[in-house]
Symmetry: C2
Subunit: 217 residues, 2 copies
DNA sequence: ACTTTTTGTGAGTGATTACTCACTATTTTG
DNA sequence: CAAAATAGTGAGTAATCACTCACAAAAAGT
């Protein structure tokens, strides 16, 4: 019933070890589920309170506005979405030892983000849906991407181009094609989810193979 | 100011030649713009009326409920989204003469859908955003896909596999990889729109080349 | 010209909205 | 243990919501 270990994990940002009361976690849990299902604007605070088994006033004790509640959910989700690129050792891992090829690197990233999406799917749904309507979220996402993800990604691509594994396409194009391929797989698997019989392992393998065949020189 | 020729075009479904009054078109125009910008649930009928320069009652004279107004916009958009696959001559065009290779076929489809998205972007945004929350829309989309798009697409893929152009991957995987590649391009171009300097022609060319390199036997 | 039908209006409706506040229950602290 | 701080409550509030309806203007039909 009350499965807020994963919510607690999601909200634990970096070094901070905030303490959440029982009721507060219930509120967050209810909010994530309802936002994911009906959307932020179509979900009322009274509904959230009822589902969380809490008085409506309790919500506003912890979050000044309804939007604050949304941001409390979305902001940590956003950062964990690009988490691998935020790690300091990340670039070193790629160059030094772990991954000798872009293909190995891709495989690791995809497996990692696959597990991430699987774990935090409801929160990711909320982020994905609401980023279109709230400029604060969009700006935050763009900021994190251009500041942390893009430069590291670009360096990695250039490295494997110089090594001769990747074709001499524009770096931006390689990044775009890589991200849309991986994101396309994850979206098909977790958002559309049309498939009954879908072999995850095999489909991931095919996705990477087709992409690599395309990008190889 | 009043640019409802494209709205009128969008709503003209197949053979029907419905007549829209001036005010009705103003309502539809205002609704599309506001739904795309703020989302359906966050847009009030009074706002739409004000923007359309119309009394609020006029909206409900034409559309029984707010949701009816949404569906009046979204349903035609949905059908036009998969329009090429609905055409009767479509499969014949591919087999008989026009396209000798899967690559040519891809190029034609991408160019066609690129123009479509560019023209009807606001309506597509609305469809894309609200399909997640309204089961009627989702079911309609799934129905059209499995009934019209999928079988024709599968036949085309099989044809070019037998011809030896495409690798012997599972047909479903080829379709998925094709759609996510093309949709990924369009999403990057029109939804994320991160482009400062983005050469559409070249990027389309790269997208198709990388995909074809991946799918070729 | 007269009747009928369609289109447009805007004040009014009850329900619901996000949010407040005076108050109680619980926990923390000196 | 007493005091102070924190967490939780639920009735209450003004604003806004989608929608109605009695009526007026315009268009169409005869």
């Amino acid at each position: 019933m009350s499965e807020y270990p994963w919510i607690q994990e999601l909200l634990q940002m970096g070094g901070k070890e905030e303490q959440f009361s029982e009721k507060q976690l219930k509120i967050l849990e209810a909010a994530v589920e309802m936002f994911a299902e009906k959307g932020y604007a179509a979900t009322s605070t009274s509904e959230i309170a009822k589902k969380a088994g809490v008085a409506e006033g309790t919500i506003f004790r912890h979050y000044k506005t309804k939007k604050d509640l949304l941001l409390a959910i979305v902001t940590p989700t956003l950062f964990k979405s690009v988490a691998p690129f935020l790690a300091k050792e990340f670039v070193r891992e790629v160059f030094d030892n772990e991954y000798e090829t872009y293909e190995q690197f891709l495989r690791a990233v995809l497996a990692n983000r696959y597990a991430f999406v699987k774990k935090y799917l409801p929160a990711i749904r909320v982020l994905w849906q609401e980023v279109a309507f709230h400029s604060e979220i969009k700006q935050c996402l763009q900021g994190v991407f251009t500041e942390h993800v893009y430069p590291k990604f670009a360096r990695i691509v250039r490295h494997f181009q110089e090594k001769g594994e990747l074709a001499e396409l524009p770096v931006d194009s390689v990044i775009r094609l890589t991200i849309t391929s991986l994101a396309g797989f994850l979206a098909a698997r977790f958002l559309l989810l049309l498939d009954h019989n879908w072999d995850d392992e095999a489909e991931m393998e095919r996705t990477i193979r087709v992409l690599m065949n395309g990008l190889r020189r």
